[in-house]
């Protein structure tokens, strides 16, 4: 189980849990970041915001927010 930011572009993960305050969790959950949901990282350059595909939508996340999302990396 790792933070979403550790996945590189093209990698898929299954969401395990969300950390952080109620507000952040509530916002992320309504956008489709819920446990069990598959996410695909489409942009991650090791710094700056990342882009992930979740439930058919591309969402840009700041690194701080993305580290609050814990995922199981899918086997490549």
């Amino acid at each position: 189980m790792v933070a979403l930011t550790t996945l590189s572009a093209g990698q898929t993960g299954l969401i395990h849990s969300l950390q952080g305050g109620h507000r952040l969790i509530s916002r992320l959950a309504s956008l489709g970041f819920t446990p069990g949901a598959p996410v695909v990282v489409t942009r991650n350059y090791g710094h700056g915001p990342i882009i992930v595909a979740v439930r058919g939508t591309q969402v840009a996340l700041g690194r701080g927010e993305a580290t609050h999302i814990l995922v199981y990396p899918a086997e490549a």
């Binding site: 959950a29 309504s30 819920t34 350059y45 915001p49 882009i51 700041g62």
Partner: protein
């Protein structure tokens, strides 16, 4: 998780035939709601603000087969939890104003995510019609959707639509009235909560049942409590006896994970609803959006593309906007002369008031209309196509360092043309604090008018090194902007501004009508709201410079003020009339040049003789950082809805500019003496 079917009796026909049906248009951001609204209401719409908010409120009317419909366009909301101002407004409207019906608009190209709001809407009492908008985009992305299958699964009417091509609008209206007449069976299948939390939900319902304020539905309030909604928490804490709230608090604390389960259950419900209705593209099929994004969100390609877009914006500004502005300016000068001539025989001071006060002040804003129109059109275009979110993503890493959001970049950049659209454009930011910080920083971006003044003055004061001095001044302004951003990031905003969660919507063809209405409403509302402030300020400044000496500035009230400020001027090595020139720039920046011309004649010869090098440089810096023009101040007040914030903005600019002027003069004099 199981599914529950309930039969709701057909909505009662409570109004007389011919009465207006009130329908709310709800949907997540970027689902094309505004296009539907504009198509249905045309220009028969009213745009204002929600009471006490800076979120636009749009209401309109339309008629279908002789029956009247009143439409309310709710702000874009991802959910009905109060995570944003928009979401709070949308749900308050549905719960308190109780529209007869809700039209839930979803983006057919991303059915899974955009149906989330429906999962919440369907749990409220108002009957819901589902509109699958952007069927064309869905097709372009390779999705196949069967509206009838979805309708059978959901138990509510479903209408496919492509609002930009005017398809599906009549069908929607027809469905709305059929549902209202009871001619459509309404048996919604609602999402339910996971068994793990079913028990606690029922406990909470029992505890709050007799204390829930009307018109909130009890089970909805219980659900929102479990979801951790802060506003509902506060409401129930106030409504319940302390011991009972304590019991509930314990329950909620033990079930803190419920928020994710509830959201998860809604997504599971969506998955079952669309299983048979939506056929996904085969793996490997790459949609248009993905192809465009390989370039537009690339760290290098994206920046180059952004620079290209900005190039076009500035090219438009200078090749179309500026000539038009010059032409309007000429027209106004002509008009002012003619009016002055005509009125002079009646009353000389009235002639001066109208020609120099009104036409100068208000006219100056009008001459900026072409540039305002260009900028709003560009902003509307970039937003409508979906590119704006990419620009925000590409620039976020730079803006983040300044405590700003990637979305602040475009408004601030527009500030180079004119600060007004920069401030109005800050509306695209979701967080109110990030919006206010952007508004605070925008006047530090040197606009075309400030640049015009600087160009003339640097040429007069530093004829040999004018270009370098001007370049240095612009750099200084941007460095100041960065510095203030950093300070406020540390001191005021703490962590809130750093939240960067932004959807990158699918690209679609821009709709000229949507963009046209966006430009129209923005400019109209600015002129309506700011017009009075600009008018009053123009007249006041004119009166101060005119009375009591009938037009001799050197003997006017303004000169009195200037003389009082003489000690301040001395600190900067400036004679007091130079300060007067700065203040007259409040009506319009260009006035500074005009005033200097009146006071000193040919400034190219007189000013260099009058000012030492450090004083001249100091004056230029003060001019660059000085309080913005009245139109900008009016825009700040309009958008922040706070005089305190407006005064803070003015005070900041005043302290910054005068402080910098004094420092440059004192240090410069000390170095060169």
């Amino acid at each position: 998780m199981h599914c529950q079917t309930e039969t709701i009796p057909a909505p009662p026909i409570s109004r007389a035939p011919g009465a207006t049906l009130v329908v709310a248009l709800a949907g997540q951001p970027n689902v094309g709601k505004s296009t539907i609204f504009n198509r249905l209401t045309g220009l028969d719409q009213h745009v204002g603000n929600w009471p006490g908010k800076t979120v636009a409120q749009k209401t309109g009317r339309c008629t279908y087969q002789g029956r009247k419909l009143s439409l309310v366009d709710l702000p874009g909301a991802y959910s009905l939890t109060a995570n944003s101002e928009e979401e709070r407004i949308a749900r308050d409207y549905i719960i308190h104003e109780r529209p007869d019906m809700v039209i839930a608009v979803v983006d057919a190209a991303i059915p899974e995510r955009s149906l989330y709001l429906l999962a919440e809407l369907i749990q409220l009492p108002a009957p819901v019609v589902l509109v699958l908008n952007m069927m064309d985009v869905a097709e372009q992305e390779g999705l196949q959707i069967e509206p009838h299958v979805l309708e059978a699964a959901l138990g509510i009417p479903v209408v496919p639509m492509c609002a930009t091509r005017q398809r599906g609008l009549e069908e929607m209206l027809d469905t709305v009235f059929r549902l209202w007449d009871g001619a459509f069976p309404y048996n919604p299948r609602r999402p339910t909560i996971l068994p793990a939390h079913q028990e606690v939900l029922e406990q909470v319902i029992t505890l709050i049942a007799d204390h829930t304020p009307a018109p909130y539905p009890v089970d909805w309030v219980a659900l929102k409590l479990l979801e951790g909604d802060e506003e509902i928490h506060a409401m129930m804490q106030a409504a319940l006896p302390a011991d009972r709230w304590h019991t509930i608090g314990g329950l909620l604390h033990a079930h803190e994970d419920a928020v994710l389960d509830i959201a998860g259950a809604r997504y599971a419900w969506i998955a079952r609803m669309i299983r048979a209705a939506v056929v996904r593209p085969k793996i490997g099929q790459v949609g248009l959006t993905a192809r465009l994004d390989t370039v537009l969100t690339h760290p290098v390609g994206g920046l180059l593309a952004l620079i290209g877009v900005l190039g076009v914006v500035f090219w438009l500004t200078y090749s179309v906007g500026s000539p038009l502005q010059g032409w309007l300016d000429m027209l106004l000068t002509q008009l002012a002369q003619n009016v002055h001539g005509a009125l002079f025989s009646v009353s000389p001071w009235l002639a001066d008031l109208v020609a120099d006060g009104l036409i100068q002040g208000v006219g100056m804003v009008l001459t900026f209309l072409p540039i305002l129109i260009i900028f709003f059109a560009v902003l509307g275009f970039l937003e409508d196509t979906g590119y704006l979110a990419r620009a925000a993503y590409v620039t976020d890493r730079f803006m983040h360092a300044l405590g700003l959001h990637g979305k602040s970049f475009i408004p601030l950049l527009l500030g180079f043309g004119c600060n007004v659209p920069a401030i109005l454009g800050a509306r695209i930011l979701d967080s109110p604090r990030a919006r206010r910080l952007t508004i605070l920083l925008a006047p530090l971006v040197p606009c075309t008018a400030r640049m015009a003044v600087v160009t003339v003055l640097t040429a007069a004061l530093f004829p040999r090194t004018a270009a370098w001095v001007a370049w240095g001044l612009v750099t200084l302004n941007l460095a100041t902007l960065a510095l203030i951003g950093l300070i406020f990031k540390r001191a005021v905003l703490k962590d809130e501004q750093s939240v960067f969660i932004m959807e990158l919507p699918l690209y679609h063809m821009p709709n000229p009508r949507t963009i046209g209405l966006y430009v129209w409403h923005n400019i109209l509302s600015f002129l309506q709201k700011a017009g009075v402030v600009i008018l009053i300020a123009s007249v006041v400044i004119w009166m101060l410079s005119y009375f009591p000496a009938q037009g001799d500035v050197m003997q006017s009230y303004l000169a009195h003020i200037g003389r009082t400020l003489e000690p301040l001027g001395r600190l900067m090595g400036l004679p007091w009339p130079m300060l007067i020139a700065l203040f007259t720039g409040f009506v319009a920046k260009e006035n500074t040049i005009a005033t200097l011309g009146v006071l000193y004649g040919d400034i190219g010869n007189t000013l260099p003789a009058l000012l030492s090098g450090p004083a001249a440089l100091g004056f230029l810096i003060v001019q660059m950082l000085f309080i913005p023009c009245v139109a900008t101040v009016a825009a700040v007040q309009q958008e922040t809805r706070s005089w305190r914030w407006t005064l803070l903005s003015l005070g900041l600019m005043l302290v910054l500019s005068l402080g910098a002027g004094i420092a440059v003069y004192q240090v410069g004099t000390w170095l060169f003496s």
